[in-house]
Every structure is written in structure tokens, then in C-alpha cells.
């Protein structure tokens, strides 16, 4: 059962990655080429998944959109983890006053929705995929900070940390060699979950026009452009793609945890 979910996760997220890689070298049509006479073509030949209101080939857009999807996920999660994890570990290792400051700052950031942040950034820097990814990343920092802090607190109460302290190992070394490896499984799961959240959030921002400009093919933008009366299938296709990606990375998270935990190795 456990294995099955991991396999489904691998297949779904694998599909997205493969689509992104394929689109780097080949797409059936130019994903930006407007072709008026071919608009609203139903799925068939030569347009396998049909065309949208501008006559752009949906299959090509879908493939290229996978790139954006992955890029947003990677940038957002990396940004959130790089800032949130060290903060959480630092706070969790018992700096009480710093801990309070970080916790309150976290609360404030947590109360600020990613959407608002994205509007802010888009207004200041102009709407683009990068602004959207950065906005989502910043909004995800508190999630990583809290997760890292909670996990660090658990680890810090273990005897092996006490043993390390008693052995004269400096705090920084303990953080890197003993705390980080022990909280990595938890963070891995969080990273995968946040990855899918980021994909979903970016789709939402694109749909609202706060992410990619018209010319950039993204799945959220495709949802936005779909004409529900003329060709409802054009809304279903990117929707399914988003669902597959979100499901895939979520399920993958469970597998990642097992892989990162040496205690689980012999159970596999």
C-alpha cells in the first residue's frame, strides 16, 4: 500500500518533469504562435489537445507550462527553506529572546496571505513568474521556520545532543552534524508538501493575472484564457495537469521521508 502511493507519486511528478524536459527541445507547435483560423479546434489531428481562443496549440503550451510549474516550486521552496530552516534551528536550540522575536515575526508573516504579498510585489516589480515564486516563497518561510523549530526541540531533548554537548562539541557543529540530519526527514516531507502548495498558488496567481504575462505559457494562464462556452475542454486540460502535479509531489513527500531516514532503510 505504502509502496503503491510512492509509485503513484513518482509517476505523477515524473510526468511533469519529463514534460518540462521534452519541452526544452521539442514541442509539436510554437507555444506562442497565434493562429486565428485554427481557434477552438477540438482535440484531434494535428492539434492533439485542441487549440485555445488564439489558435495556440494546447499540447505545446501544456508541455512548456510544466517548466514554469517546476521553476516556481523549486524557487519558492528553496527560498522558504534557506531562510526558514536556519531560523527555526537557531530558535529551537534555545535562544529564548531571539526565539520570541522570530516567533512573532513569523506570526505576522503568517497572517499576510501569499496573494496579498504577490499583489504587492507585482505592483512594485511588475507581474512575472519570478515575482510570483518569490512571493510564494516568502509566504512559506513561517511554515519552514515553525516546522524546523518544532523538530529541533524534539531532537534537542534527546540524549545524543546532551552527549554531544558534554563532549565539548560547539553549538554550530551540533546544529549542522547532529540536529540537521535528524530533522531532514520532517523537512523533506514539508518541502514536498510546500512544493505542491506553491504549484497551486502559482496557478491561482496566474489565473488572476498576477504571475506570468500573456506571452508566457503557464497552466494557470491557460485556465484564465479558456473559454468555457466555446471550448470547455481547454479549462479541463490544465486543471488536470495541475491536479496531477500537486498529487504527485504530495505523495512523493512520503517516499522522501522514508528514504532520508536511515532507520527506515531496512523496512523497505
Amino acid at each position: 500500500m505504502k509502496k503503491l502511493t510512492v509509485i503513484i507519486g513518482l509517476v505523477c511528478s515524473g510526468l511533469v518533469v519529463v514534460a518540462a524536459l521534452v519541452s526544452l527541445v521539442w514541442t509539436p507547435f510554437d507555444p506562442r504562435k497565434v493562429d486565428g483560423p485554427a481557434r477552438f479546434a477540438p482535440p484531434g489531428w494535428p492539434h492533439v489537445l485542441g487549440t485555445d481562443a488564439f489558435g495556440i496549440d494546447t499540447a505545446s503550451r501544456l508541455l512548456v507550462g510544466a517548466q514554469t510549474t517546476l521553476l516556481v516550486g523549486v524557487v519558492a521552496v528553496a527560498l522558504a527553506a534557506v531562510i526558514g530552516v536556519p531560523l527555526g534551528v537557531f530558535v529551537g536550540m534555545g535562544h529564548r529572546i531571539a526565539g520570541e522575536v522570530v516567533a512573532r515575526a513569523s506570526d505576522i508573516l503568517f497572517a499576510l496571505p501569499a496573494l496579498l504579498l504577490a499583489i504587492l510585489l507585482a505592483a512594485a516589480l511588475g507581474a512575472s513568474v519570478t515575482t510570483a515564486a518569490v512571493a510564494i516563497g516568502i509566504a512559506t518561510i513561517p511554515v519552514f521556520q515553525r516546522m524546523a523549530r518544532a523538530a529541533t526541540l524534539t531532537v534537542m531533548s534527546q540524549d545524543y545532543i546532551l552527549a554531544a554537548q558534554v563532549s565539548g562539541i560547539p553549538g554550530g557543529v551540533i546544529a549542522i552534524r547532529h540536529v540537521l540530519p535528524n530533522i531532514t526527514p520532517v523537512l523533506g516531507v514539508q518541502a514536498a508538501a510546500s512544493f505542491s502548495m506553491a504549484i497551486l498558488a502559482e496557478a491561482g496567481l496566474s489565473y488572476l493575472g498576477l504571475s506570468a504575462p500573456q506571452s508566457t505559457p503557464t497552466w494557470g494562464r491557460m485556465l484564465h484564457d479558456a473559454n468555457l462556452y466555446a471550448a470547455p475542454i481547454q479549462a479541463v486540460i490544465p486543471g488536470v495537469a495541475i491536479a496531477v502535479a500537486v498529487l504527485g509531489f504530495n505523495l512523493l513527500g512520503d517516499g522522501v521521508r522514508d528514504y532520508l531516514d536511515p532507520r527506515m532503510k531496512e523496512l523497505r
Binding site: 545524543y160 558534554v166 565539548g168 562539541i169 540530519p181 532507520r263
Partner: protein, 297 residues
């Protein structure tokens, strides 16, 4: 000169200054093994934490702890770190949790060596294998590459003892090192600890509530009750002719084999009324606090 010298040590916690260790004084000579015996909550672990500098922030320490002539209670963290793990080490109670589950045990031991000396990686590995071999781990060269979860409880405790002794310390603090092990493994680990302490000529503060263990390992024993050392002396002397009623109670409860069938089991209160101690004012001489304690029956 004593390895460890504790003078009038008082440790209290929190704003209300709840006293955990009260006016304790003790000495450990080089190579000497002192057993510290007491019930749960008597302050033995707090005493050990104070010596090794692991008290939480809300603890207040009065008095002095000197190790090799160096005052520890006021020593800055950085200098303390240079002593901990080298000259002053600790063996923990729980072999299941005292090793980092994500690190190979050999690397954990090597980390200690590398931290306190400047040896190359190759010689460090050989040293770790040698020490693992000496503590009776079969196939030591294989075990250094094992993760803690791949080892049994006894093997892990051997690893922990090896790690405590690898830098040839002058004092090892053992906090109930065998309570988590079953009786046969316990005996083996204890014998090993005995031999290895002797081979590196390390002194030992052995904390336990098991009088039998203390008797088999330690030449001297100190009995702690409610944060105070109530009795101290040679092990045979203290256990066979206890002068303090609390010690007499401890010894009696530990030798239930002397109780005949049908007879009531002895409890410490048969010998000693704790209420007389708790309400007593602080004494000037903690060496003979039993003067103020009356026998309840």
C-alpha cells in the same frame, strides 16, 4: 591532589530557589571510584549536571567545583568545552538514545577524537577500531560503519563506554549506565567498565540507586538524600555498618533476601523519618547531619 573537589555546592532552581543540591562537599582522588547513591529526586543527577556544566539557565549555583585545580562553576563555555569530552567525560543512562541515529557510530567516536586532538583521519579510524575492539565489540572494523539502530543495547552501551574513554579522561561520570540493560548484559558491561577505567587510570563518579552495582564497582560511596550527602565512607563500611538511619533504611530495603516469607517488607521510613530533615534549618556542618535526625522507632 584531588581530581574533583566539590565544596559547599548548593544548586537551586527558579525564582523560588527550590534547592536540589544542598551544601554538598566531596573529593575524588585520581583513579578513585566514588559511588553516589540516592533515591529518585535526591539530587544525584543535578549534582552530576553541575559538575559537567549542563544546568539549565534558571539554575543558581553557589559554592565551588574544581577539576584538576580549575574552577568549573565560573569557567567560560569555550574553555569548558576544551575539558568536556577530553579530561571529563560522561556515560549516559540510555544506550538507545545516547547515540545519534543518523550517524555511523565510528564517525561519532572519531568526532570526539578529532575535536580534542590533531590526528589525521586514517589514524583516527584505526584508533576508533582499536578502542571498539578493546571494549569487546566483535568485528570492530565492521561495527564502526554501523548505524546505532543496527546494534543491540549491549553493543550500544559498549560504544558509549568506548566514546567516554577514547580520549583517556581523568574523570568519567557514569549516570546509571546499566539500568537500561538486562541482568546478564549488565554484569558484562559493568566488568568491562571496571577493566577499562583501570586501564586508562580514570577516576569515576558512579551514580546509581542500585547498591549492588555500586558495591561491585566502587571503593567508596556517598549517600545523598534530599540534596545532602548524609553519609560517606569506604563501601564495605557504609553498607555493613551504616551510621546514618537513611543509609540503614536503603541497605535494608536492598537486601530483601533477608526477609523471611510472610514478613512485611522493610521500607526506609522504618528507619528514618524524612520530615525531620525537610524542616530542619541549614546546618553548619554537613558532614554529620544525622545528629539532628531522630530515629522514628
Amino acid at each position: 591532589m584531588s581530581v574533583l573537589r566539590v565544596r559547599d555546592l548548593t544548586v537551586s532552581f527558579g525564582r523560588r530557589h527550590l534547592v536540589a543540591v544542598d551544601q554538598v562537599s566531596l573529593d575524588i582522588e585520581p583513579g578513585q571510584r566514588l559511588g553516589l547513591v540516592g533515591a529518585s529526586g535526591s539530587g544525584k543527577t543535578v549534582l552530576a549536571s553541575t559538575i559537567i556544566g549542563l544546568l539549565p539557565d534558571n539554575a543558581h549555583v553557589d559554592g565551588s567545583v574544581t577539576f584538576d585545580g580549575q574552577e568549573l562553576t565560573t569557567l567560560p563555555d569555550r574553555e569548558f568545552s576544551a575539558i568536556r569530552g577530553k579530561d571529563l567525560t560522561m556515560v549516559f543512562q540510555e544506550p538507545m538514545t545516547a547515540l545519534d541515529p543518523t550517524m555511523r557510530v565510528g564517525r561519532q567516536a572519531a568526532e570526539l577524537v578529532a575535536l580534542h586532538s590533531e590526528s589525521s583521519q586514517g589514524t583516527t579510524r584505526q584508533l576508533v577500531v582499536d578502542v571498539f575492539d578493546r571494549v569487546g565489540l566483535d568485528q570492530a572494523s565492521r561495527i564502526v560503519d554501523a548505524y546505532p539502530h543496527e546494534l543491540s543495547g549491549g553493543q550500544r552501551q559498549r560504544v558509549i563506554i568506548a566514546m567516554a574513554l577514547i580520549n583517556r579522561p581523568s574523570l568519567v561520570i557514569c549516570d546509571e549506565p546499566t539500568t537500561a540493560l538486562d541482568a546478564t548484559v549488565q554484569a558484562k558491561v559493568l566488568r568491562l567498565l571496571d577493566e577499562e577505567l583501570a586501564s586508562v587510570d580514570a577516576a569515576c563518579l558512579f551514580i546509581s540507586h542500585d547498591l549492588g552495582l555500586v558495591a561491585s564497582l566502587c571503593s567508596d560511596v556517598a549517600v545523598i538524600h534530599a540534596g545532602r550527602i548524609v553519609e560517606r565512607g569506604r563501601t564495605e563500611q557504609v553498607f555493613h555498618h551504616p551510621s546514618h538511619p537513611y543509609t540503614a533504611g536503603l541497605v535494608a530495603t536492598a537486601s530483601i533476601d533477608k526477609v523471611r516469607p510472610g514478613e512485611r517488607l522493610p521500607v526506609i521510613e522504618d528507619f528514618f523519618d524524612p520530615s525531620t530533615v525537610d524542616s530542619a534549618p541549614p546546618s553548619e556542618s554537613t558532614n554529620r547531619p544525622h545528629r539532628r535526625i531522630r530515629r522514628s522507632r
